[in-house]
């Protein structure tokens, strides 16, 4: 689920119609969730979202697993042909 955007409407019924026009008429959506603004609970505390220490290790992007995979395959005796497809960051 991603935030599609905002609509202004006097009530839920029209909000759904307009959401469909703004975020669904080009076949870009499979489903729409429309909620009134005051139903949104917000979390914006920087200490909770962007802690002061380096937490980059919690992101999968920094790992190079190619060699680990090769070693694991060698141990398991698996064919390495499909190794290229697994190369990368684990995203």
């Amino acid at each position: 689920m991603i935030h599609g955007g905002n609509v202004n409407a006097p009530d839920e019924e029209l909000a759904v119609h307009y959401a469909r026009e703004f975020y669904g008429r080009r076949q870009e959506s499979h489903r729409l969730w429309v909620v009134p603004r005051d139903a949104i609970v917000e979390l914006d505390d920087p200490d909770l979202l962007n802690p002061p220490f380096d937490r980059s290790f919690k992101r999968p992007g920094g790992y190079l697993i190619k060699h680990k995979l090769e070693a694991a395959r060698a141990r398991a005796g698996t064919d390495a042909e499909s190794a290229d497809a697994s190369e990368g960051t684990g995203k």
């Binding site: 609509v7 202004n8 409407a9 019924e13 029209l14 119609h17 307009y18 469909r20 026009e21 703004f22 008429r25």
Partner: protein, 255 residues
């Protein structure tokens, strides 16, 4: 001469012109609808109608070995076959809502029947269009209810518009020359008078529920006049000049 073919062409032209002319009228709301969101919605719905017109014109063009653009833009005003309901200018928002409400239900009634047509290309197109028209119905039912419930000027204008266009709305079901042939071939599964009554059974209870004007029983019982798809007015003559302007500016151009 293949007269069933001619009757089929007559039916396709009538439906295509309904969607085409209404699509053009209501596209005039782009930029000036009651609010920004409705501006986008109305423009989008109008585009849908032009798209449906295109589909009918292309089916017709394949049948008559003609060109869809030429059929759409190459005729004089007298050659168009839309129902008299579509003659009128956009007018105000209440008029637009009144017309759309009556038309969307008429179109839905027609498509529901045509989805069972023995002529497969029509049945398939009708089934696809019905899926898009569901939203049109919801949208204009909603607006009708809102303007009626709002009272005051909104309600007065809506009621006046309905009074004015009832006779022309019935013309959506005006008899076609080749109708009997289409019905006996199963191309048109129900005759237009049956469809008109089915349409009345849909719209009259909604209007009565909102205490909006409906024509007297006697008027509803009488079939629409035979000129329902041929009578024209100055509004349409003007619109025709507008929507053919670009095509006429460079005839035969590839766009």
């Amino acid at each position: 001469m293949d007269t069933t073919r001619e009757a089929l062409a007559e039916l396709l032209l009538a439906m295509a012109d309904d969607e085409f002319v209404l699509g053009f009228w209501d596209s005039e709301w782009t930029g000036i609808a009651p609010m920004l969101e409705e501006d986008v919605a109305m423009s989008s719905v109008s585009q849908d109608e032009i798209g449906h017109a295109k589909a009918w014109y292309e089916l017709l063009a394949g049948l008559t070995d003609d060109d869809a653009d030429e059929i759409a833009f190459g005729r004089e005003p007298a050659g168009y076959r839309h129902a008299a309901l579509m003659n009128h200018a956009r007018t105000d928002w209440a008029f637009t809502v009144a017309r759309r409400f009556l038309y969307e239900h008429a179109d839905a009634t027609r498509l529901e029947s045509l989805a069972r047509s023995s002529y497969t290309p029509i049945a398939e197109l009708a089934a696809k269009m019905r899926r898009e028209e569901t939203y049109h119905l919801l949208h204009f039912d909603l607006w009708l209810r809102r303007l009626a419930d709002a009272g005051g000027e909104a309600r007065d204008r809506l009621a006046a518009a309905l009074e004015r266009i009832w006779p022309d709305a019935q013309a959506v079901f005006a008899p076609l020359d080749g109708e009997a042939r289409l019905v006996s071939a199963g191309i048109l599964p129900d005759d237009l008078e049956t469809l008109r009554h089915r349409w009345l059974d849909r719209v009259v209870p909604i209007l009565e529920g909102l205490r909006l004007p409906v024509p007297p029983e006697a008027e509803r019982a009488a079939p629409p006049a035979g000129d329902g798809r041929t009578r024209r007015n100055d509004d349409f003559a003007w619109l025709h000049g507008e929507f053919t302007m670009v095509a006429r500016s460079d005839e035969g151009a590839t766009w």
